[in-house]
Every structure is written in structure tokens, then in C-alpha cells.
Amino acid sequence: MIKKMDYLEEDLAGNFTFDYEEPCVYSLNSSMDRKVLPFVHSIICALGLVGNSLVIITYALYKRAKSMTDLYLLNVAIADLLFVLSLPLIIYNEITSWSMGWLSCKLLRGSYSVNLYSGMLLLGCISIDRYLAIVQARRSFRLRSLSYSRLICALIWVFAVLVSIPTFYFYQRYEPFENSTFFLPNEEENEPDDHHYVCDFKHDDRNLAPYFKVMIPSIQLGVGFFLPLLIMIFCYTSIIVTLMKAKNFQRHKAVRVVLAVVVVFVICHLPYNISLLYHTINMFDVVKCQVADTLKVTQNALQAVAYLHCCLNPVLYAFVGVKFRNHFRRIFRDLFCLSKKYMTQRRFSRVTSDMYMSSIRRSVEGSGDSNLSFTM
């Protein structure tokens, strides 16, 4: 008996190591999952929470969504906030082997998907809105009405839910090797106390599973990246062409903002989506564990970069606008006043300063180009 075991050990560890393949444990990726990504994700989460809730608070308290752009910006902030909120819950559940149950698996993966799609499509809509305002300025009055934009926003959310239905349906909480294990020795001793669940794709039809498996990332690539990218490229190039024709100091600043929006979008999302495309194309291929591990690490790092985009959206879209910044300053001023008021109970001075500020604001708003939401 000992002889046989020795033979095996020698055989497995010695000359023929490369001929034996073991299940891949992704050692590099799991150590990165443990050591680096929690910090990165919590930073993203914190920044996203602060930025997007400031946008939402500003709209809720100080600025009624008046134009189409306002409504889109508000919806992007809501989508990004929900996305950022679902992130720690997903991480928590992945760590605790989905202790919050099967419904949390479906809901979290689904809402993640809905917010991803709605966020990306809304960015495309913002570019269309700006295209209409600048390039098609004469025809844009009716198209950019508030009731019309409410309808578009509602349609986008409905569409995002529809596109996420495969994720809702196919993602399940299950034990990876639940019934396939086929141990020779004492089967009755299978202790089921160590349940390890994952929340991942599962479909029991062996012939259809590969198609559905490819379908989910394909939709994500198509609807969640390439569609908004193409819309943005078309809209923003025509905007830049139009702006270049008009010789105006402020317009050049606007061009810079447009370029920043596009460049940041591409930098954040293109690398991750390329890695996702590569993964999808080579999904069913045989691959060495080390290579797969490196690819997974790369993909996770690029995914974190893509997540970072929802922290940058408030800066790129909302805070770049002069009007928005003024409203935002008012929040801080009022908070300051409120605390001051608490200490010195003088109401009169507050009323006058408030009136003074609102008159300044009105003059600022009046002087700016009301169509350009992104003038600096």
C-alpha cells in the first residue's frame, strides 16, 4: 500500500506535473479579491454615494428638474446611486456564501444589471439631448419638452428591466458540486453542514445552456456599451463640428467638456468591455490555469475602473454646469446659515442675505446660455 502511494506522489509531483491538470483555484485572483478589491470597491462606493446623493439632494431641495437635461442627470444619479448601493451587498453576499438567501441573489444581480443598463443608456440620451439642443436647435423645442423626457426616462427604465430579465431568470443560488460528487467511500458520511453557495448562471438544459451563457454578456456588451458608445460618438462629433463653426470663447470650453465626457467614458469602459468580449469569445475553450488566473485578475481590475465611472458622472455631467454649481453652492451656504442661525437668533439678516443670493443667482442664470447645460 505504501509503495503505491509513493509511486503516486512521485508521479504527480515529479516529472509529469505538466501532464496532470487539476481544477483551477485562481490563487492570484482570489488573493487580489481578498487584499486589493475590498479597498478599491469601498472607495468607489464611498465616492459614488457622496457624489450621486449630492446631485439628488440638490435636485430634490433646490432645483426642480426643469429641463430634459435636468431629468436625465437626476435619473443617471439615481441609477448610479442604486448601482453603488448594490455593490457592497453583492460583495458581502459573495463572502458569506449568499447568506441572504436565493431571492437576494436574484434581486441583487438583477438590480445591478438594471442600473448598469439604465445608467449607460441615459448617458446616451444625454448626448442625444445635447445634440438636439445644439445641432438641431430650431427643431428641438417640442422634442425636448419635460413631458416628453419623462416618457423617455420611463421607457429607458422599462427597457433596462426587460434587458435584465435573462439575468433575473438564469442567475441562481446553488451549491457548485451538490449532486455531481460521486465518492467511493462511505456515502452516508456526506456531511451537509458545510454549505457553500454561489450566485451564478445556472440552466439545466445542457444543449441550451451554452447559448444562454453567451447571451447575457453579449447583451451587456451590445446594449450596455456599444450602443451608448456609438450614440455618443455620433452625437458628440456633430456637436463638436457645430461648435467649431461658431467662433465663441465659451464654446471652446464646451468642446473641452464634451471631449472630457467622451474620453472618460472610453477610458473607463472600453478596456473592461474588451476583456469581457475576449472572455465571451473564448468562453468554452481549453485554457491553462495560470493564463485564466491572469485574465481574471485583469478583468476584475478593469471592472473596478469601469465602476469608477459612476463616481465621475456627477462631476462630468452635473458639477460642470454653471447653474448646477450655483445651486450646489446654495446648499452649503444654507447649511452654513442654518448653523449660524442656531447660534445667533437673528432672522432678519438671513432673509436679506437669502434675497440677495437669489437675485445674484437669477442674474447668473439669465446671462448663461440656457441650452448648454455643460458650459463651464
Binding site: M1, K4, M5, L8, L12, F16, Y20, E21, E22, P23, C24, V25, Y26, S30, D33, R34, K35, P38, F39, S42, C45, A46, L49, V50, P88, I91, Y92, I95, T96, S97, P176, S180, T181, F182, F183, L184, P185, N186, H196, V198, D200, F201, K202, D204, D205, A209, P210, K213, M283, F284, V286, V287, K288, C289, A292, L335, F336, L338, S339, Y342
Partner: protein, 122 residues
């Protein structure tokens, strides 16, 4: 005041977030066979096998052979893999017989270890 309260709330939220994500971090991803062994292990060393399908999180169909302290990935379409599977089934039948007879003769826990010892000697 309201502003101090909201600041405190924000700080608390951030701290709990950091705490959550650093403390409870030992995410384990399911391990999958990604490629196949070229050499076949001898049947006498096999303890059992499990089947990896593409219906779950893994993307490659494979037979995972259980050896003492090792798991090996095998191509399910190869003849030798199928032979090894059959071999395990055979051993299982024999084992069951031996196991049940051993159980009947000695009822204490020692018999189980004896049974396991027998497994290697086959």
C-alpha cells in the same frame, strides 16, 4: 444642527462600509477544470469521480478524478476517461459488498477505518 448630523451619518456610513468590506473578505470562487490531463492515472489509485458540466459556473465539460490528496481533470470524450469511470463503478460495487459484510460482523466505529484501509489495497 442638521448639517452636523448629516456629516456624522455620512462618516458612520463610510466607516461601516470600510469595516464590512475589509473584515469579511475571503471570497472564494468556485474552482473549475479549465484543461485536461494528458496522462491517465492508474485505476487502482482512484477514490471516485465527479462530473463537471457547463450548466453551472464552469465552462468546460470534464470528469474530475478523485485521488488521495489530489483532483485531476479528465476529458469526458476520451476513451480512457470512460474506462476509468467504469472502473470506479466496478470498485464501488465490490466495496459496497465488502463494506456491508464488515458492518454486519463488527458494529463499532473501528470497522469503518478498516473499510477505508481496505480501499487502498484493492
Amino acid at each position: 444642527p442638521a448639517c452636523r448630523k448629516s456629516k456624522a451619518c455620512l462618516a458612520a456610513a463610510l466607516c461601516s462600509l470600510l469595516f464590512l468590506s475589509t473584515f469579511l473578505s475571503s471570497a472564494h470562487s468556485a474552482s473549475c477544470c479549465l484543461s485536461y490531463s494528458r496522462r491517465r492515472p492508474p485505476c487502482k489509485l482512484l477514490l471516485g469521480y465527479s462530473i463537471q458540466t457547463i450548466t453551472g459556473s464552469c465552462d468546460l465539460p470534464a470528469v474530475i478524478l478523485h485521488l488521495p490528496g489530489k483532483f485531476l481533470c479528465a476529458d469526458p470524450s476520451m476513451r480512457w476517461t470512460q474506462k476509468l469511470q467504469l472502473c470506479v463503478e466496478e470498485k464501488k460495487k465490490v466495496e459496497k459488498k465488502k463494506f456491508s459484510t464488515l458492518r454486519n460482523t463488527t458494529s463499532d466505529k473501528g470497522s469503518q477505518f478498516l473499510g477505508e484501509g481496505l480501499r487502498f489495497e484493492m
